[in-house]
């Protein structure tokens, strides 16, 4: 029964992420308790958003539709499925926005401060924006520009003093900072993730027909000025920008706060379509709204047919490795080598195996191309670690024979869709040497 369910909803079988493993211990090690609580937190954030919008618009349709749009978007689903800290952040941020709604300056300052602090507390990773603040990148670029121009045999002559006016770390710093801000206006990632030209790893935030509703919503809001509503939108867009700049994670997580203001603009458009007497506008708007709904369904189907296309492949890697190790009798082996090429492995080890003897488990990348593997050992890693890496990630297609030739038996292998350890191939191998 469970298998039939997970075959149709493959994304629900997505293994725990590193974020979840950090706190899963507090929830009896049960991923579904944690997911349930994450969902509750997101629903709390939606509740605050509904209250906030309704208080300003006094319009139940707009408020409900705005919340509904967020509720059905694939990114909402993935957030509660995999990212509990993001759910917590959204609940607190929306709560703060609700309680500080009448104090404009304090709202912006308070929530911004919270978002910045949260990004520092929840991870040791730092966003590109924070790195840029140090001026180091600006200094390097100045040097790089001068070096490039000096390499020309016959350059266009420009006095050095004039060059220095803009080829200096302060002006380049302005360039670096604004180049961190411009991606906030990335319509491809926000609306065209299904057919993204860069095929970047992300989750659908809004489906493409919704971009037309957004344009309609902007028209309605700009035309029929509602000062309070516009203030809310501007404030929440500003806070989305702050979150975007300080958030170091994948693009759909950087954009998670913008779900709220954009859904509100879209819901205003839908409401306008609903009450419009313009026959063409109403027809086209209605068709776009229907297409949007179709798009959301199509994307949920897609997400459940090929979750490994949309989601980070590292949890799949860990699940496969530790489940393969668990099937073996560990007392028969002196050492278990598990690669650390894709991140911290210890937490996953504890989650899947209960405990990991520090004398037995070695969490490090290994290189067996030139040496024989140790006897009475288990090795788990990427194929490149067994037979040698390749600069262009082109691993010998006959790798299985090569691995067997090294004396490995009881081999378990899986091929990942994504390249998560470049140079080492996409195939994962767990094997033992008796």
């Amino acid at each position: 029964m469970e298998n039939i369910f997970f075959n149709n909803f493959k994304s629900l079988a997505y293994p725990p992420t590193e974020d979840q493993l950090r706190i899963i211990g507090c929830f009896l090690g049960n991923i579904w308790i944690l997911r349930f609580l994450s969902l509750v937190l997101l629903l709390v954030s939606l509740f605050f958003w509904y209250k906030l919008v309704f208080k300003i618009t006094k319009n139940k349709i707009i408020s409900f539709v705005s919340v509904g749009i967020i509720l059905i978007t694939p990114v909402f689903y993935i957030l509660w499925l995999s990212f509990p800290f993001d759910c917590l952040k959204l609940a607190i941020a929306l709560g703060l926005m609700y309680f500080l709604k009448n104090k404009n300056g304090f709202l912006l300052f308070g929530v911004s401060l919270f978002l910045v602090m949260f990004s520092f507390l929840v991870t040791s990773e730092r966003s590109g924006f924070i790195h840029k603040l140090s001026l180091n990148d600006a200094k390097s670029e100045v040097q790089e520009r001068f070096a490039a121009e000096d390499s020309l045999i016959d350059p266009v002559k420009v006095p050095l003093k004039i060059k220095r006016m803009v080829y200096n770390k302060y002006f380049i710093e302005y360039k670096e900072i604004i180049n961190e801000i411009i991606p906030f206006f990335d319509t491809e990632s926000l609306f065209f993730q299904e057919i993204h030209p860069l095929e970047q790893k992300s989750v659908v935030i809004f489906v493409w027909p919704e971009v037309f509703l957004l344009i309609g919503g902007v028209y309605v809001l700009a035309k029929y000025k509602n000062k309070k509503l516009n203030s809310l939108l501007i404030a929440s867009l500003f806070l989305s920008l702050i979150d975007f700049l300080f958030n170091p994670f994948a693009v759909f997580r950087k954009f998670e706060l913008i779900l709220f203001p954009l859904s509100l603009i879209i819901s205003v458009a839908i409401w306008q379509v609903w009450k419009s007497k313009m026959i063409f506008g109403k027809t086209v708007g209605g068709l776009i709204a229907l297409a949007s709904f179709y798009g959301v369904v199509a994307n949920h189907v897609d997400l459940n047919k090929r979750p490994d296309f949309w989601l980070d492949n590292r949890p799949y890697f860990y699940e496969f490795v530790f489940k393969s190790i668990k099937e073996r009798n560990l007392s028969d082996f002196n050492k278990v080598y598990v690669t650390s090429l894709v991140g911290k492995t210890e937490n996953y080890c504890k989650y899947y195996l209960g405990s990991c003897d520090q004398n037995k488990f070695v969490f490090n990348s290994f290189e067996l191309k030139e040496i024989r593997p140790e006897k009475k050992s288990i090795y788990a890693g990427f194929v490149g670690e067994f037979i040698g890496s390749d600069f262009k990630n082109n691993i010998n297609s006959d790798w299985l024979t090569l691995v067997k030739d090294k004396g490995f038996t009881n081999l378990k292998t899986v091929s990942l869709r994504d390249t998560i350890a470049y140079k080492f191939g996409n195939d994962v191998v767990v094997g033992e040497v008796k």
């Binding site: 020309l152 266009v156 420009v158 803009v166 360039k175 604004i178 319509t187 491809e188 506008g281 199509a298």
Partner: protein, 570 residues
């Protein structure tokens, strides 16, 4: 400010912008690229013989690399080549002049949008030095010439719309289709963009959103718009010779190679398709949904701030359309563009100007959107003046907000000075970036090094030798040997029958004069006498030095790297 002072300032900005565009034109980009060399040499060939490199008499399309380039750019280059000789500067001058003339019409549009003279001049000063204007005006590009005519045509279409309808002044009324046809004679893209713009202009489809019934729209259309239809007919008549002079299949060669329908079919990711008989019957992930998404994405990518202001796609990088450090707009202007979009949308119902800008954008993006690339600056160059107008709308909006704020704080003058200084520095950065940094970064594959430096040396030596062997990895490198030594066109035309047939792609090099395209093979070639070799493959210096009568000259590219070797054997 009096009108006279305004004219002087505008004239000053235009002259300054022209001077900046032509300063160092021979050095940056460091050498001509394949298409520049082809345009320049065909212009030279027509100047000397009245025929292109294939011997076609006064052609409307240049067969060139079997890509049938529109020929107008080459014709307009003839006066410059006649005066200055065949070189980088003379070949690029048409583009620089076109980029400058289009600014005049940009200013006319700005006059329609910005009522405050000071603000208008500031905006014009900033837009005159946008990265795309600087970059594309310094390279021979048919698309840039086409964009110039397209702006002029757009201006006359917009400005004379009442004359066109009433046919009051027939001379003024026909200016729009005439300039539009020149755009079409300059670049393929305009052949689709112009009809699209005229159709959008006539039908004004955005207006349709704001009428209560089809009857109302029909009444309005028949009363006001139907009279414009002659524009479209007149334009088609004007460009008919292009299609009559060449087989339409040849003119559409590029489209066949690049169209979106072929590349993305079946549009839905294959793993999501259920059943193999008809992909169109898929219920949950229907190809129509994905196809419409791709088309919408292609069109809207030209409205996307990140594309206009920062993101560089793989197919852009390494090509002539790549501007290192930028996309098309300056950084601040990209953010301002967002404000402009809001302002544009806000007044879309009441203001025909705003709808016209949208139609301009859509019509210009349409030809590019039909190709497989998501965002392709070169194929959509007609639209960037419209993008600039949206930036101008954004600047008006910001000026209003800042004006209110600064008036309260009484720091208006200091702030204005600060803003002006900031934009002066930004303009300076754009110019410097284009002069040398861009030249250093973009030299290479599409404008290969060594030819500019080496062909002249080769030309001085070749009289004393019987054969010149050319070993080059580039499929069309022959053109550099024609361009950089202003080869007598009659020699080239005499070889027309031996050259690859129309439609052939890939290696288009051909043997002419003493030139033979072959692989460098020193062990064999060292036994021959009176031979000169242009070798781009790896040359072992010692082997040459050890051969009696052999000599070697290293030729470097623009950044002091060894690009090629000229080996002579007596």
């Amino acid at each position: 400010m009096s009108r006279k002072i305004e004219k002087i300032i505008v004239g000053g900005i235009i002259v300054l912008s022209f001077l900046v565009k032509i300063y160092g034109l021979a050095k940056s980009p460091p050498s001509v690229n394949f298409d520049e060399a082809a345009l320049g040499y065909n212009a030279y060939s027509i100047l000397k013989t009245g025929k292109d490199e294939y011997g076609n008499f006064l052609p409307l399309s240049l067969r060139s690399f079997n890509d049938y380039k529109p020929a107008l750019y080459a014709y307009l280059s003839i006066p410059f080549i006649a005066v200055m000789g065949l070189n980088e500067t003379s070949t690029r001058m048409v583009s620089a002049v076109a980029g400058t003339i289009s600014m005049v019409f940009l200013y006319f549009f700005l006059k329609e949008l910005v009522k405050n003279k000071n603000l208008r001049l500031l905006i014009f000063g900033i837009l005159a030095f946008e990265p795309w204007r600087m970059h594309f005006s310094r390279v021979s590009l048919e698309a840039n010439l086409s964009a110039c005519f397209f702006v002029i045509g757009s201006w006359f279409l917009y400005k004379n719309r009442n004359l066109i309808k009433q046919k009051k002044n027939i001379f003024k009324a026909i200016l729009a289709p005439i300039f539009f046809s020149l755009a079409a004679y300059s670049y393929h893209g305009a052949r689709a963009a112009v009809p699209a713009l005229i159709i959008l202009f006539i039908f004004d489809p955005l207006r349709f959103f704001f009428v209560k019934s089809f009857k109302e729209y029909k009444k309005w259309f028949l009363k006001f718009k139907v009279k414009y239809l002659w524009l479209l007919v007149f334009f088609i008549l004007l460009i008919m010779p292009v299609f009559l002079a060449n087989k339409s299949s040849q003119v559409l060669t590029r489209f066949r190679q690049e169209n979106v329908f072929y590349r993305y079919f079946p549009f839905t990711p294959k793993e999501l398709l259920v059943g193999e008989k008809s992909v169109w019957l898929n219920l949950t992930n229907n190809p129509i949904y994905y196809f419409l998404g791709i088309m919408s994405g292609h069109m809207l990518s030209y409205f996307s701030p990140i594309n206009l202001g920062g993101r560089v796609y793989a197919w852009v990088k390494g090509g002539v359309q790549y501007i290192p450090g930028f996309s098309m707009l300056g950084w601040a202007e990209t953010i301002i563009f967002v404000f402009g979009l809001v302002s544009l949308i806000k007044n879309i119902k009441v203001n025909f100007k705003n709808r016209y800008i949208v139609y301009w954008m859509l019509a210009s993006a349409a030809p590019a959107a039909l190709t497989w690339n998501w965002f392709h600056p070169l194929r959509s160059m007609n639209l960037y003046p419209a993008v600039e107008l949206i930036v101008a709308l954004g600047m008006i909006k910001i000026a209003k907000i800042l004006g209110k704020f600064l008036a309260k704080k009484k720091i208006g003058n200091i702030a204005n000075l600060g803003i002006a200084s900031f934009f002066v520095l930004s303009v300076l950065f754009v110019v410097l970036n284009e002069y040398n940094y861009s030249a250093a970064i973009t030299h290479g594959e599409y404008q290969p090094g060594g030819f500019k430096e080496g062909v002249k040396i080769l030309a001085q030596m070749q009289d004393k030798y019987d054969t010149v062997i050319i070993d080059s990895p580039h499929a069309q490198s022959y053109i550099f040997f024609l361009f950089y030594q202003s080869m007598d066109p009659k020699i080239v035309q005499a070889c027309a029958d031996k050259r690859p047939a129309p439609g052939v792609e890939g290696n288009l090099n051909f043997d002419f004069y003493k030139y033979k395209f072959a692989k460098y093979d020193w062990p064999q070639q060292k036994n021959k006498s009176k031979i000169l070799i242009w070798a781009s493959s790896e040359v072992i210096e010692k082997e040459i030095k050890d051969t009696p009568g052999a000599n070697l000259i290293w030729i470097s590219n623009a950044v002091r790297e060894k690009a090629t070797a000229i080996i002579s054997k007596e």
